[in-house]
């Protein structure tokens, strides 16, 4: 039997993906769950496992191609059927007994032979031409808010939905997919303060970094919040040769989210320093135990705990401003995003319920998400639902930064390199390990004094981790 494999429904708001790599060839024998494709959506690079065991019959996609949800990407011959190549009609007919797999997408005929007079497309009121447009754009009409009488979906509704112009769509569909940091292209995720092994960003060509230069060009989708019209640029070619590359996938999403964050949120950045001299001996002592459990004891892990302690005391930093309803949304869960630099751009995986996890558990999870994110294998549900973000550029260098808030969160904490510096203790100059911290926050929700208290609260716990125990 032949089985078609379609691009599955990858999650909220994702309708298409770019094929990054095809990992199997036609005629190759594959096992179930073996990786067959790597695709990049505007949220992440996802590795797609093989749905069945069998032989690859046909590969319909190639690297660089954009595929839509539901599009047939490959077909497999599974047990009991031979490859149709040289078989006569009957064998082929058997092979063509297609079975469709792929989450949430099915094209198998439904028994509809005794159908009544009303069929299809739910009950969304929309004219036939509008329904056709939605089909062409691959849009589920039930998801489109209709602006006509009785909720009738108009042509414009479908188009603006498709363009992602509806604010509600933006807020619910894309939040926390990527985060902001002024140093996004060079920051790496978690590192320990100690031996700062700066792994340089490997050089790569424009094509490697941004993909095919032949892609579609369209203006940035700023969720109606940008305010300013897209600016015209001068003619750069007057001054020398240029290359124009389409803004795609993760890079595009970052550009959009940064613009929205910067234009919507009045950012203020508060700076402070933590004396983490006492951490290194603790790290050396306990790291082997954490290693046994598959994690690494780092300042970032400790910071996760310290931040949650702070968020509990200062809940405004774990909130969002609801502009539409004039409310502040306080979140009673603590999901911390960690900015991870990847070759394809900045991605922010989220560690959920940090308050309920032990340091060892956090260390293990942090290592896991960082590795998975870098290798493009992070699960989509781990890219959503963050309430606060931490970004750490310590591994690379820098004395401080002014990180950009991961809209629609309230704040982001930047960690710079913890370096040995002269410090004054009891009138004497000593060598201490000092880590600069920078908290950018939404001044509409929180004030400067609160930010200072909040950061001090975190610093007290970084300087004396025992405090965390007292609270636990």
């Amino acid at each position: 039997m032949s089985v078609e494999f379609k691009l599955p429904d990858l999650g909220e708001g994702i309708h298409e993906a770019e094929v990054i790599a095809v990992k199997v060839k036609e005629g190759e024998t594959v096992k179930e769950d073996q990786p067959i494709l790597e695709v990049e959506t505007d949220k992440a690079v996802v590795e797609i496992p093989c749905p069945v065991a069998g032989v690859v019959e046909k590969v319909n996609v190639q690297a660089g191609q954009t595929v839509k949800t539901g599009q047939v990407m490959m077909s497999f011959i599974t047990d009991g059927a031979k490859a149709p190549a040289k078989e006569e009609a009957k064998a082929e007919a058997k092979a063509e007994q297609k079975q469709v797999v792929g989450a949430g997408v099915s094209s198998s005929p439904q028994a509809r032979s005794s159908g009544g007079t009303t069929i299809g497309n739910g009950k969304v009121p929309a004219a036939p031409a509008v329904r056709r447009l939605a089909r062409e754009l691959g849009i589920d009409l039930t998801q489109v808010p209709g602006s006509g009488p009785a909720g009738r979906v108009l042509n414009e509704d479908v188009r603006s939905y498709a363009a992602g112009k509806l604010e509600g769509h933006f807020q619910s569909g894309h939040q926390t997919s990527t985060a902001q940091s002024s140093t996004s292209s060079t920051s790496t995720a978690q590192t320990s303060s100690a031996p700062a092994k700066a792994t340089g960003v490997p050089p790569c060509s424009l094509k490697d970094k941004y993909g095919d230069t032949n892609g579609e060009r369209k203006p940035l989708d700023l969720g109606g919040g940008g305010g300013l019209p897209a600016a015209d640029l001068p003619d750069f070619t007057k001054y020398g040769a240029v290359e124009r590359v389409p803004l795609k996938s993760i890079r595009r999403k970052i550009a959009e989210n940064m613009t929205i964050s910067w234009s919507r949120i009045p950012h203020v950045t508060h700076f402070d320093e933590a004396d983490v001299t006492s951490f290194e001996p603790l790290r050396v002592k306990h790291d082997p135990k954490v290693n046994e459990q598959g994690g690494r004891l780092t300042l970032t892990v400790l910071t996760l705990k310290a931040v949650v302690s702070g968020l509990k005391k200062f809940p405004q930093f774990n909130a969002s401003l609801d502009e539409k309803n004039g409310e502040i949304v306080f979140k009673h869960y603590f999901n911390i995003g960690i900015a991870v630099a990847t070759e394809r751009g900045l991605i922010v995986p989220v560690i959920k319920n940090v308050d309920q996890k032990s340091i060892i558990e956090l260390a293990r999870e942090l290592k896991d998400i960082a590795e998975k994110t870098r290798s493009g294998k992070i699960e989509l549900d781990r890219l959503q639902g963050g309430t606060f973000t931490i970004t750490n550029i310590g591994a690379i260098g820098g004395t401080s930064m002014s990180p950009m808030i991961n809209y629609p969160e309230c704040a982001i904490l930047g960690m710079a390199r913890a370096a040995d510096k002269p410090v004054v203790r009891q009138g004497k100059i000593e060598i201490g390990t000092i880590m600069p911290l920078a908290l950018s926050f939404d001044h509409r929700i929180a004030d400067g004094a609160e930010a200072a208290y909040f950061v001090r609260h975190i610093i007290e716990r970084l300087e004396d981790p025992f405090t965390l125990l007292l609270e636990a």
């Binding site: 009609a89 009957k90 082929e92 007919a93 063509e96 007994q97 297609k98 094209s107 198998s108 005929p109 439904q110 028994a111 509809r112 032979s113 005794s114 159908g115 009544g116 007079t117 009303t118 069929i119 299809g120 497309n121 009121p125 929309a126 004219a127 036939p128 329904r131 056709r132 089909r135 062409e136 006509g148 009488p149 009785a150 909720g151 009738r152 979906v153």
Partner: protein, 485 residues
Amino acid sequence: MVVGEMVQEVDLVVLGAGPGGYTAALRAAELGIKTILVDAMPKPGGVCLHMGCIPSKALLHAAEVINTAKGASKFGLHFAEPKLNVEELRTWKTSVTDKLAQGIVGMCKSGGVEIVHGQAKFNDSKSLRVDCPGESAMRIKFKHCILATGSRPTVIPKLFKSEKDQQSSRIVDSTGALALDAVPKSLLVVGGGYIGLEMGTVYDALGAEVTVVEMTDGLLPGVDRDLVKPLATHLSGKFKNIFLSTKVLSLEEVKNGVEVTLEGKDVPEKMTFEKVLIAVGRRPNSDNIGLENTQVTIDAQGFVTVDAQCRTSDKKILAIGDVSGQPMLAHRAMRQGMVAAEVLAGRSSAFDNRAIPAVVFTEPEIAWAGITETEAKAQGKEVGAAKFPWSASGRAMTLAEPIGQTKVIYDPETTQVLGIGMVGPRAGELIAEAVVAIEMGAVLEDLVVAIHPHPTLSETVMEASMAAISRIERKAARDMEKAGK
């Protein structure tokens, strides 16, 4: 392989040149697909053109002229009894269908669609054999096939006393009735559905005494009763008898007629009619065409199962029209034909229609589109319904035929128009507005605000919508008052 068999290779073969088939073939050719259209009948057009829609409407027109002339005496216009020349009427009817069939041939020619006459049978999912009468058989290898083989009248063999009775020329189906050999003195119509009532209307006007036997307790089962009632009243004055809740047990050819055994309350056990028309439904033509050699699946009723893109479970074969399910109506087939051709051309097309209108071409006509009150009830869906009687329509009065009503069915929450049903002369023409309204997702106000030409029957759609709005407003006012107290 048969000796002398020709092999032809083609992108698309469309099986059946009825309204669905020729629409699909022409659209496919237009989209650049090399297409062959195969039909078992010598002239294209299918049941619709030769044994259904068109000839029945030609005869119904004759019936209407007769009845209108008779009715004119009400306003002082007295005609003599009409003199019927059956042969001339038949010739005219045939000339109409021939002209239309030639039209299809012409369209296919200019569209580049080759028409092949013959009986087709699938060898497998990519080839079929066509036995062309008087010529050598032909093998067609195709990349895709659109199945549009239609349907045929249902036969109930157990009704007949013997094989001979089944062959009797006195017992006919709709095809036989439309052939119009002669007008019998008495005609029994078995089945009170739309085919039986349309043919009964024709034969009644042409002078036959018509009796209708219907197994259920009402004519036109499934249609809203309030729409059927004016027709039933009218027909009971015209037809000799209408036996409801009555079964035909057997049919036997006797001298000068057919003896029919009936079972029902207050119904004579045995009656003799000169002719009997059996119109108890239609069945899909999914048998005897070798579908078992393909991956096409067929349901319990014999319909080929299809999805919204008209695809069957065999990826090379699509199906449209009567063979692909209910309702078995030409206009559904034509729309599906467009969809199937566009799907094959790689377009994103789907049969996602909200309303498939239905028309019963009796006098008066009954037509509906979208949801019916009966369906809404069965689905437990709360709907509002408002009616406008044609006795209050100026245009209906001037036609001297004020029998009729228009009913709008709407969503009481949103006032979206969900269905429209009507009974009255020309209801079949008026229903098109309902279809557009439903497809567009119109609300009652849309139908009220849009200006309808005066004086026409179309105003009744506006009036019924206005009645619905008034009702909603009155209810709102009452609720306000209640809340106030």
